[in-house]
Amino acid sequence: MRHPVFVLAAFVPLLPLGAQATGRPAAPDTARKATYVAGALSVPNADPFPSTYRARPARTVLIRNATILTGTGQRIDNGAVLLSGGKVVAVGATVAAPPDAEVVDGTGKWVTPGLIDTHSHLGVYPAPGVDANSDGNEATNPNTAQVWAEHSVWPQDPQFPRALAGGLTTMQILPGSANLFGGRSVVLKNVPGRSVQEMKFPGARYGLKMACGENPKRVYANRGPSTRMGNVAGYRAAWIQAEAYRRRWEKWLETRAGDPPARDLQLETLAEVLRGNIYVQNHCYRADEMMQMIDIAHEFGYKIRSFHHGVEAYKIADVLAKEGISASIWSDWGGFKMEALDGVRANLALVHAAGARTIVHSDDAVGTQRLNQDAAKGMAAGAAIGINVPPEVAITWITSNPAWAIGLDDRIGALEAGKNADVVLWTGNPFSVYAKADKVWIDGALAFDRGDARTWWKTDFELGFVPVTMGGSR
């Protein structure tokens, strides 16, 4: 059902800049080598808003004598991590370091990969939360697959630095959940930028935000969908169109007869999901609705990468494991509406115990500063019913597992040689309420040091308005 033709074409970093001169679309077989040209012709998969992120200068750093949680399920007591050239070079009980390495003594401290949030609205719902800056929900049509969250991100959102002080290095910014199809997500690095492009994670895939249940039917009660069956009809109608659009383009690329089909931003995004290039990030609370979304995915041949919120994920954790769908969930947030009523505290532990990929997400500017604390609540709830999740496993809920959900597990989420040097040094066990991020490195560069005011980040907005840098969380 799925066609691999565009698999690489959508992979932004593979787009050679030099190809811009060719001026015409390539044949399908060369398309696999990704010679499409950004903006030059009306073809899908271009990269019109390319990342301009640049890693900051990185020193060679050796952190030693620390308890290390690698993010791959390992714990190394009294271990060391070597960072160099923006990458993790070595992790182990002992690590040989070059003489010029800056040595950080981690005695009594813990080291983890930088934390990753699969569900953030920083920048699109910035602080202060005034209407003028409220840009997270294009609630004008149940299908707004054509909108891209990055076009709403305000890089001066004071919530970014506060999340950094909580060890958060990467986040997926999603549109809101008013619509069946909310639009494209964007993956950001938590660094200051004059534009969102300067924060964009180079080469990260896009995600598609979809939403089940109460939100769309409430928002569109007057014009429809106003019921859950209306929601499902809406998804299916859109996928039928997307499938036809995908075929039209493929046919034209094969024959190149006549004018290319007209581009349609909405269908372009959906077609990219059908090609497997954009991951579905599906807001869905109830177990029975998740099961229906899985059937819809089967019907149209795409995969759901992660269910978000999933307060009832524990009811179908076996199915999630079998389907290879991750669960981006909270430890205990729930009860606030009918579809959130069955939230249980052991959700994380139960999903984990069933073998499904378990992720702590936030959907909240406060929670995103403390993913480790939410994971700790989930560990405690598991222990209360006999599911013991040790720190070296629980850390995967906020590092390597979310990295997988956004398709970046080959680059971030773990402390192993070759991975990006996104690292947090904690003042103690990160699952203790008293632990704080002491130092945070992004691509090997020191992005935050609690003890060094020169590293504290104050956004433009905060100058003059906000008296305390990083909200006193430094």
């Binding site: 004071p158 506060r162 076996d318 009860g335 009918m338 403390r370 405690a380 909200g471």
Partner: protein
């Protein structure tokens, strides 16, 4: 006339107890709050009242013993801002009984506790988390109504209510122009004063139009008398300074709730003896009233001598589904500089004093009610569980709804469901 009205309004009730019952909690590290911690301490409760607290206290014959060796023993925790029993499912209007219609934004008369749902599924999960007592209060308008202090055990509202009214709740969050709102509050209070001196004329219709209804003006009398405190939600420094000023002018017993920028006027609040209800986590300038929001607010206030009452304002469901998370507010506040003892005090004695029940709850001492929690460890830590919760000397236990759900789905598929 006035007295009988107040007698009706002020329900101070104690739940009926079963026959003589003696409980001894033995061997734990006891944190009495008033006084230093006691290693290997014993707490004895007879017929719902604490009779002894200390090391080397004899266990009375026939006592039910709770072995607390290796455990931490504290007074039952108090969350000073919840909607427990008044809101079941936030998004379902028919389960919300915390917002009165009122008149022009004023609902001082509103006493929500008669509509309290003693069968709320939120109560067992709150008390299983070590909360024994909470403030449950109305919302909406700029004078929202009266709050009740309730114990989380009982099958009728009379049994739940420990003290009502425990406070009047108002808000400076509902703004046209700040100065106007302060003036309106002054006008309301002045008219309530005027009304009290001319009740007879008012009844005869010989009165100018007053700023509120008769029921509202009556309800404000104990606030003016200083017997019921007024809690005013305010974040901005300007608003908090207005609270200090108005409280002084009318001799009110005032408190500030939320108080994002309270740290800026910490010494003034301390001098005016105005306690602050706040959390230990928030640090986001979420609106122009809270630009100064900072994680160490509670620590700075305490340093200046302000009484701090912790609330779970960083958790979106901290007033209903997860009010027990208030203990993590304490942990984070301690991480941000509050002393551990002050963290515990902010969840026990400080609210008990502020709401006028410190002779009964908020500390462990002879004569106090047996609201006690045995913890597996430091109550501010995530890994710690409330292992035994006693309310008025009786152990409350049994699974909450969410406990039952996760038990049902402990193995998949649950009994009675088909295997996929």
């Amino acid at each position: 006339m006035r007295r009988s009205l107040h007698a009706l309004a002020a329900l101070v009730l104690v739940a009926p107890l079963a026959g003589a019952q003696t409980v001894a909690i033995t061997g734990g590290t006891v944190y009495p709050v008033k006084g230093p911690k006691i290693e290997n301490g014993t707490v004895v409760i007879v017929d719902g009242k604490i009779t002894a607290v200390g090391a080397g206290v004899a266990v009375p014959a026939g006592a039910t013993v709770i072995d607390a060796r290796g455990k931490w023993v504290t007074p039952g925790l108090i969350n000073s801002s919840t909607s427990l029993g008044l809101v079941e499912v936030g998004a379902v209007q028919e389960t919300r009984d915390n917002g009165a219609r009122g008149t022009n934004g004023v609902a001082a008369f509103f006493q929500p506790w008669e509509g309290l749902n003693a069968n709320s599924v939120m109560l067992p999960q709150a008390r299983n988390d070590g909360l024994t007592t909470v403030i449950t209060h109305p919302r909406g308008g700029w004078v929202s109504g009266q709050a009740a202090l309730i114990d989380l055990s009982g099958s009728t509202f009379e049994q739940l209510v420990r003290k009502a009214p425990a406070a009047m709740f108002a808000s400076f969050g509902h703004v046209t122009a700040r100065g106007e709102l302060y003036q309106k509050l002054r006008e309301l209070l002045s008219d309530a004063k005027a009304y009290a001196t001319r009740r007879a004329q008012y009844e005869l219709g010989n009165s100018r139009t007053l700023a509120a209804t008769k029921a509202d003006l009556e309800a404000l009398q104990p606030v003016l008398a200083g017997t019921v405190p007024i809690v005013i939600e305010a974040d901005k420094r300007t608003d908090i300074e207005a609270v200090i000023r108005i409280a002084r002018e009318f001799k009110l017993k005032a408190m500030v709730a939320r108080g994002a920028e309270a740290w800026m006027v910490a010494s003034e609040l301390a001098q005016a003896k105005i306690p602050v209800l706040t959390g230990g986590i928030l640090n986001i300038p979420k609106d122009f009233a809270s630009l100064g929001q900072r994680t160490d607010n509670a620590a700075l206030l305490r340093k200046a001598g302000v009484s701090v009452l912790l609330i779970a304002d960083s958790y979106a469901d901290g007033e209903t589904f997860n009010p027990g998370n208030v203990r993590y507010e304490a942990g984070n506040a301690v991480s941000a500089g509050l002393s551990w003892d002050d963290g515990l005090r902010a969840l026990t004695l400080a609210p008990a004093e502020a709401f006028g029940v410190a002779d009964k709850v908020g500390a462990l001492a002879p004569g106090m009610d047996g609201n006690v929690v045995v913890w597996s460890g430091d109550p501010f830590e995530f890994a710690t569980r409330a292992e035994a919760v006693l309310i008025k000397g009786r152990r409350v236990e049994g699974p909450s709804r969410r406990d039952e759900l996760q038990q049902r789905y402990r193995t998949l598929p649950p009994a009675g469901y088909a295997k996929p």
